[in-house]
């Protein structure tokens, strides 16, 4: 049976607290999500029962921990519908995953004069690694622009892609605008010209079912901490045939087959890309988080979050001088906005004192800010555990501050 919101909120102990004597209203989910007890306790339980280093051990605990870790891989494989479990690489997070691809794919396939395409709405994590690669290889970074509504101008893609294009990196969902990009269509277009595509799923993975086979993504990355799992763990999905073609990223234990000072050979997938002791406890907790998400159900999540998004958008439009950035028809539950004459930072600081946690600033997307000619926005991002009451608090807070400034 479907849990009620009240029941769901009980799964997240952190939500039931006061800050500055006011009930906490946590609307900074885009930065990081809170964790259900199921996940928190999974880590604790591992450390109290089976914690042990994995893979090479011959003893009982090591076996149990290895099984738990490899089962976590299979769970994530199913969660995103990957074809093979070895297409799931455990990393530190989305940033780590993108850097891995930028390095390893870059070493193999990017040379002087080649081109990489990113979009104007990317998070720095999906810009800077490509810039660094381009600098190292003397390649060129090209940018797919966006419209005033905050949508990718897909029609420009055909001209942007040339015979020199080696990879296209695009976000599935904007962490600032909330825009859900038509990544399936983008991938199809890129593939027509033989360009592989990396999708940054950091803000998508928690809102709806991801099916990497259906999307036909070549690489798909996300962080655990944004999908109700702990910090320090993330995923790189890559198509097997591509992962096999590119060299390893980091060197160390577990990623080698044979090591000698003369010649070292590397292990098979997925181990080739998992150098050193993996965050195996984090990996198991990540799998638990995905199970928690599925127990709530994406249908329910989508319904709840859409309701919150629509409700908040409607209410915000009644606030004088409030402008929403990102007005695509396809949005996840993220709203960026500014109120006339009020600096985002002032708004954020004051909302905080009312117990309302939002994020302010450039949201690691400075080029996007530049596109809109602003320094930053206030961002409220909702999870299925948020309520309409909380949105009412937010709106009241905004109104109060607006009056303080504009009267």
């Amino acid at each position: 049976m479907q849990k009620s919101i009240d029941e769901i909120r009980k799964d997240f102990p952190i939500l039931n607290q006061k800050v500055y004597g006011k009930p906490l209203v946590y609307l900074d989910n885009g930065a990081t999500s809170q964790k259900p007890l199921l996940v928190i306790n999974a880590e604790k339980e591992i450390y109290e029962t089976i914690n042990s280093n994995i893979h090479r051990g011959v003893h009982f605990l090591s076996g149990e921990m290895t099984n738990a870790y490899e089962n976590a891989r299979t769970t994530i494989q199913k969660f995103i519908n990957a074809k093979f479990s070895e297409e799931i690489i455990f990393t530190k997070g989305a940033t780590d995953s993108i850097n891995l691809v930028a390095f390893s794919f870059g070493e193999q396939f990017v040379n002087e004069g080649d081109e990489i395409i990113v979009t104007e709405m990317e998070h720095h994590a999906n810009i800077v690694p490509w810039q660094m690669l381009c600098q190292r290889k003397k390649a060129i970074l090209k940018v797919l622009p966006i419209s005033d509504e905050g949508e990718l101008i897909i029609s420009k893609l055909d001209n942007l892609i040339t015979s020199k294009t080696r990879l296209l990196a695009a976000t599935h969902t904007s962490n600032v605008l909330g825009t859900i990009n038509p990544v399936k269509e983008i991938i199809e277009k890129a593939h027509k010209q033989n360009v592989p595509v990396l999708i940054d799923g950091s803000q998508a993975i928690l809102h709806s079912k991801i099916d990497v086979i259906d999307l036909n993504a070549d690489f798909y990355v996300f962080s655990g901490h944004k999908m109700y799992a702990p910090t320090g763990i993330g995923i790189l999905y890559g198509k097997k045939e591509l992962l096999e073609k590119i060299p390893p990223y980091q060197g160390g234990g577990d990623m080698v087959d044979n090591v000698s000072f003369e010649k070292t050979t590397y292990a098979e997938l997925p181990f080739k890309f998992e150098a050193g002791t993996s965050n195996f406890v984090g990996a198991v907790a990540l799998a638990k988080a995905s199970e928690y998400i599925e127990s709530i159900g994406f249908e329910f999540i989508k319904k709840q979050e859409t309701e919150l998004l629509n409700y908040a958008t409607e209410k915000m439009q009644t606030v004088k001088g409030l402008k929403i950035y990102g007005t695509s028809k396809k949005k996840c539950s993220i709203i960026s906005f500014l109120v006339e004459n009020i600096h985002a930072y002032d708004m954020g600081l004051m909302l905080d004192k009312m117990g309302i946690a939002v994020r302010t600033g450039s949201h690691c997307a400075q080029p996007l800010m530049k596109r809109f000619g602003i320094e930053g926005t206030i961002r409220a991002s909702f999870s299925f555990y948020n309520t309409k009451d909380e949105i009412d608090s937010l709106i009241q807070g905004i109104e109060r501050i607006r009056k303080m400034f504009n009267d």
């Binding site: 985002a344 002032d346 004051m350 303080m404 400034f405």
Partner: protein, 140 residues
């Protein structure tokens, strides 16, 4: 007044508020009273890095004492820098260098302005002290 006398004054002024929004109203009042910085002084050199808001801070030596002007695009930041200007304006450089800014904790700002990584408040204080240091060594 000495630096500490001004600090104590500020602490007392803030002591009447138990609500943060009232404190902010008060800080905003300060912001409005801050002597405007010369437009020509809003240079990249005078811009303090590491705040979510922009802060410009300039200092001049007048009769052996430092005179500060400042501005910010965010009103609370401007109010905070106004507090600092109120404290440090026309104080001898050596005093500025040796000050312990206990008022920050007392009025609750340390907790409330520290979240940003490159702490805006800290950067402002550093900048003020570096001015003091520079003028101090000039004097010798």
């Amino acid at each position: 007044m000495t630096i500490n006398e001004i600090q104590n004054e500020i602490i007392e002024e803030f002591s009447i508020f138990d609500d943060w929004m009232d404190k902010y109203e008060y800080i905003i009042e300060f912001a409005k009273g801050l002597p405007a910085i010369d437009v020509n002084k809003k240079t990249p050199q005078n811009l303090i890095n590491g705040c979510q808001s922009k802060v410009w801070l300039d200092a001049e030596l007048i009769d052996g004492k430092l005179s500060f002007t400042a501005d910010s695009d965010a009103i609370i930041t401007k109010g905070v820098v106004a507090l600092l200007v109120r404290i440090f304006n026309e104080q001898p450089a050596t005093e500025i260098l040796n000050t312990d800014l206990y008022f920050i904790a007392k009025i609750g700002l340390s907790q409330n302005l520290s979240p940003t990584r490159a702490n805006g408040l800290l950067s402002m204080i550093k900048r003020i002290k570096s001015y003091a240091l520079a003028f101090n060594s000039l004097e010798k």
